[in-house]
């Protein structure tokens, strides 16, 4: 491994650490809201990684202005992709949160272990879609 280059690419290392923190929260924490927070941390780490790829040494925003050469501008494609990614992350979070609301309404808890334990028989679940 090339450690001096890795220190130069510190953003990548930090994004790996953030990814691992998010994955830990998703896998270990029993609380569904904490799992969601972990998922959001993972998404943020990917955003940081991809935006960092487009960085340029002493770069300028990719906006055509007087006195800024195109060779000075940063890569616009990662930024455009991440704009899309952020909106998709918000959408998935919204759907997941509304599912959490429903779960809390039905089971009175957001602890995934307790929810699983309270479902001893799948046929107990009945037909929840007929409640609506």
């Amino acid at each position: 491994m090339n450690f001096s280059r890795m220190f130069h690419n510190l953003n990548y290392v930090v994004s790996v650490l953030l990814f691992l923190i998010g994955l830990y929260a998703v896998t270990v924490k029993p609380n569904l809201i904490k799992k969601l927070i972990g998922l959001n941390i993972m998404e943020t780490s990917v955003f940081l990684f991809i935006v960092s790829i487009g960085m340029v040494e002493s770069g300028q925003a990719p906006i055509v202005t007087e006195g800024v050469k195109t060779s000075q501008m940063v890569n616009p494609i990662p930024q455009a992709l991440i704009l899309t990614g952020i909106v998709v992350a918000v959408s998935t979070t919204a759907v997941a949160l509304s599912l959490c609301l429903r779960l809390h309404e039905r089971y009175g808890t957001l602890n995934s272990d307790e929810i699983l334990a309270s479902i001893t028989d799948v046929s107990q679940l009945g037909r929840p879609w007929e409640e609506f």
Partner: protein, 251 residues
């Protein structure tokens, strides 16, 4: 035990990722492969090809217009899913915790929100309309609009908010971003060129340029307003409390 297993798995994943990162080119070099293929063309010809000084706006609306249309449909279907799961508020019966609570909201909080909200709104409109020659754009402006209205709703309660933004005006606006994008796309088809082509044939050069600016602005505004309204609608159907049995008396 489970935690130990997870930590081992995380260590394996982390070492693999770090190994891959150690082989990547230096982060800020101009010679790394992501900046050598299509990027010089985007940066050099983006203004005349995509019609926007902000290259990112050009990439989003023109070079990768289909991508953005898919994204707009993703956020629209997220709203559909939330409403399918949680149901919309009933007419005249939308209350949030603030409305149901006996404790009045702090005067300091309400005053600060009252004073800062118009400024935030102004900034949102600026971001939306000025996103072409400066940083900003439809999504960002829409997010700021949505955030300001959500702040207002959290502080003043859902009843006041629905009075200010009646559902009759809000619900039809939810599809504005999708409809704006699709209609601008079909204008290209009507003129006999490809879907989402902004330079229409049969017009003069100057007129085509003006029409392109106009179409880009319409899409930008549609994305902004529609996105903001969708955020507002999602939060409105999440924070209303009329689904639960209210313990307190409603003032």
């Amino acid at each position: 035990m489970k935690r130990l297993l997870v930590l081992v798995a995380l260590a394996v994943i982390g070492v693999t990722l770090l190994y891959g990162i150690g082989k990547m080119p230096p982060m800020d070099s101009r010679a790394s492969p992501d900046k050598t293929h299509v990027v010089p063309r985007y940066l050099g010809h983006g203004e005349e090809e995509a019609g926007a000084k902000n290259i990112i706006t050009g990439v989003i609306l023109n070079y990768r217009g289909y991508d953005t249309m898919g994204e707009v449909s993703v956020i629209f279907s997220a709203l559909c899913a939330v409403i399918a799961i949680l149901d919309r508020e009933k007419k005249g019966r939308s209350r949030s915790g603030v409305d149901a609570s006996r404790v009045r909201t702090s005067l300091i909080v309400t005053t600060v929100v009252r004073f800062s909200l118009p400024v935030v709104m102004l900034f949102a409109v600026y971001t939306m309309l000025h996103g072409e020659p400066s940083p900003g754009g439809g999504f960002q402006g829409g997010a700021i609009v949505g955030a300001s209205i959500i702040l207002f709703t959290i502080v003043f309660g859902l009843a006041v908010s629905t009075k200010r933004i009646p559902p009759g005006a809000r619900v039809p606006m939810e599809s504005v971003n999708m409809l704006g994008f699709l209609s601008m796309g079909f204008i290209g088809l009507a003129f006999g060129v490809q879907f989402l082509t902004y330079i229409l044939p049969g017009l003069g050069v100057a007129a085509a340029e003006t029409v392109r600016k106009l179409m880009l602005d319409v899409i930008e505004l549609g994305i902004g307003i529609g996105g903001g309204i969708i955020f507002i609608s999602i939060v409105f159907s999440m924070i209303r409390e009329d689904r639960y049995e209210l313990q307190q008396d409603v003032p």
